[in-house]
Symmetry: C2
Subunit: 153 residues, 2 copies
């Protein structure tokens, strides 16, 4: 823990009028930022193998109104959209990322837009906490939990 603080580079920047606190070595912070951007790209491309590869093999996801879902098949089933439905937009904005050895967590907000088969579009937003693990040098999502934020707030 002492080493963490000695090695830490603390970034405090302002993005869209919102503070972001990143604590940890820059290469780790950058990989988590990059992996998160890729995750959003996979969601927008409905690339479910890509999404699944962002998670550890024993990852747990916590969608609202289900039990905890674990394992690659459950995660792909959750993310898979019906025929004709797509995610037009997906973006995650981190409020804080904190690296601690081979574990890390971040929290913040997400936003997105879904297009349905009938052409209707629906925007949504929420907040999340992710616990990351570094496996063979690659940061992957181990725990992923979120819930809604009303669009007007």
């Amino acid at each position: 823990m002492r080493n963490l603080f000695i090695l830490s580079i603390i970034f405090l920047c302002w993005n869209s009028s919102q503070a972001q606190t990143f604590v940890g070595k820059q290469k780790h912070i950058n990989q988590i930022l990059d992996n998160t951007r890729k995750f959003s790209e996979y969601v927008m491309k409905s690339d479910y193998e890509g999404i699944a590869n962002c998670y550890t093999s024993d990852a747990k996801i916590f969608p609202n109104n289900t039990k905890i879902l674990t394992g690659r098949d459950s995660i792909i089933s959750y993310w898979a959209l019906p025929e004709g439905v797509g995610t037009l937009f997906h973006k995650i904005t981190q409020s804080e990322i904190r690296i601690n050895g081979n574990e890390a967590y971040d929290y913040g907000y997400y936003e997105g837009k879904t297009k349905y088969a009938d052409g209707r579009e629906s925007s949504w937003q929420g907040k999340y906490v992710i616990v990351w693990r570094r496996e063979k040098g690659v940061w992957k999502i181990y725990l992923d939990i979120w819930n809604k934020v009303p669009l007007k707030s």
Copy 2:
């Protein structure tokens, strides 16, 4: 991280047919288990100062359908129930606790029952992720996020 594993005591026990994985020194695991039980007691006693003291001064809570709430006053406002309303039962069952230096996380399920002013009672359950921090030797909740699990699942 290596030290963590060398020092770790891994408990694998079965409770209510559900696996629990606790990784870390037993004294830390025990304090987190104990603090979680106390948290439930404070909720059942509507002891809002007690609840607030379970959190770090910069803690964040993530109730559904709000933005992220931070700070003692926001946390007390969230937990405070209207006159005549009480929590008859509150219990947290950890699926995993993992200590990493002065940080830790746990996830699992919660369940409870509310009694309303008109005498009606309502049961509920959900799942959660908590990120803990050890401050002056005491484990406190830094991030607290949860969402629902249907009662029949």
